[in-house]
């Protein structure tokens, strides 16, 4: 009897370790997480508009139906990315997520303080390799460091009332994420 009780407690203790281990490896083994759901519809380093969620069909659970949204699934192995998002009339936000769907940075139109949110996204290594003078001269340049090489950028614009949905959709559709050298020189 004593022996079985001991085995039971030994097993329960081992169960605790199993529990912690499964919780920790869960994100890397999940097959239905937001990144993989979006990987099916969004190609790399381009902005893809997401359809508005409906009761029958939603890209992800718990999406806010009052927002028009788009994602940029990024891969920084080839170099940094430049993100430009024109702000809409009501509220526009840009959120950055790692490969495992952890939010590491977000900015909204008011914090950006301009008509267009402009950001450079790079890994810490790429930021360190940046020529120093370039870093200084572009003092107003916003640089975001990504903790992972791949990840997601969620671009969202609020439609405060149903009539403003087209306005919000136009705003997110005009967002761009691309390698700086692919850009046409504007100045």
């Amino acid at each position: 009897m004593m022996r079985w009780l001991l085995l039971f407690f030994g097993g329960a203790l081992l169960g605790g370790i199993v529990h912690l281990a499964t919780v920790i490896i869960m994100p890397s083994t999940a097959t239905q997480d937001a990144y993989l759901r979006l990987a099916r519809i969004a190609s790399v380093n381009t902005v893809t508009a997401l359809p508005a969620p409906t009761p029958e069909n939603a890209t992800m659970p718990f999406m806010d139906p009052a927002f028009a949204s788009a994602v940029c699934r990024y891969d920084l192995t080839q170099g940094p990315l430049k993100l430009t998002v024109p702000v809409s009339l009501a509220y526009t936000s840009v959120s950055f997520y790692t490969r495992y769907d952890v939010a590491y940075y977000a900015i909204n139109d008011r914090a950006a303080g301009r008509r267009v949110i402009e950001l450079d996204l790079m890994t810490t290594e790429q930021h360190n390799q940046l020529p120093e003078e370039e870093d200084v001269t572009a003092a107003d340049r916003l640089i975001v460091e990504s903790p992972t090489v791949t990840g997601l950028i969620a671009i969202r614009a609020l439609a405060p009332e149903p009539g403003l949905v087209p306005m919000a959709q136009t705003a997110v559709a005009a967002a761009r994420c691309q390698r700086p050298d692919e850009q046409k020189p504007s100045r």
């Binding site: 085995l7 329960a12 919780v23 992800m60 999406m63 939010a103 405060p160």
Partner: protein, 192 residues
């Protein structure tokens, strides 16, 4: 033989206890450092790099993207203020005010995070769509049948969750007391 049987027993206990606890934690929502005000629960830390392993695993399993803290904070309610589970066949009233934020949205989801189909295709409200009293407070009727005023249809589903998202707000990780964050009260008025 006894040794083999014994180890198999211990391993079986380990598997049941370990996987059972993981399943329970990820489906019933276990997270540290929550902010609970009335029936509303917010986990501002899950929108940062400090998100704990339970929150990370929960999001990986459900497939949702957490709202980033620099964007906003999301409050969820599954129960009314008396602790009763929200029932889509009952008339539920939300009343009061919300914390300071540039915008907020209120959305009704089924427990899986899907919008609930209804005859008027209304899934929620934004702060600009709400009819308020002179003092800024409001009432929202969450009910299966049409109501005068702010009506949020439940579609008659058995269980649902209300999610109130505050955008561009000072509410966050350092928010402690409900005094700083006045959330609307949730009360069940009548049930068939």
């Amino acid at each position: 033989m006894r040794l083999l049987l014994g180890s198999l027993f211990a391993l079986a206990v380990a598997a049941i206890v370990g996987l059972g606890m993981t399943y329970f934690a990820l489906t019933h929502g276990a997270a540290f450092s929550g902010l609970s005000i009335g029936s509303w629960i917010a986990l501002p830390k899950t929108g940062t790099l400090d998100a704990d392993p339970y929150a990370r695993a929960t999001f990986a399993r459900s497939g949702q993207l957490p709202i980033a803290l620099g964007d906003g904070v999301s409050f969820t309610a599954h129960i009314d203020d008396s602790g009763k589970l929200l029932d889509g066949r009952c008339d539920v009233e939300l009343s009061g005010i919300t914390p300071a934020a540039r915008f907020w949205t209120l959305t009704l989801y089924n427990p899986d995070g899907e919008l609930v189909a209804n005859t008027v295709s209304r899934y929620g409200f934004t702060s600009q769509e709400i009819a308020r009293r002179a003092d800024g407070s409001f009432d929202i009727a969450v009910a299966p049948r049409a109501n005068a005023g702010n009506w949020l249809p439940t579609g008659g589903v058995e269980r649902y969750a209300l999610v109130l998202r505050l955008y561009d707000t000072a509410v966050g990780v350092s928010t402690k007391a409900s005094r700083e964050v006045p959330m609307p009260a949730i009360s069940t008025r009548s049930c068939p």
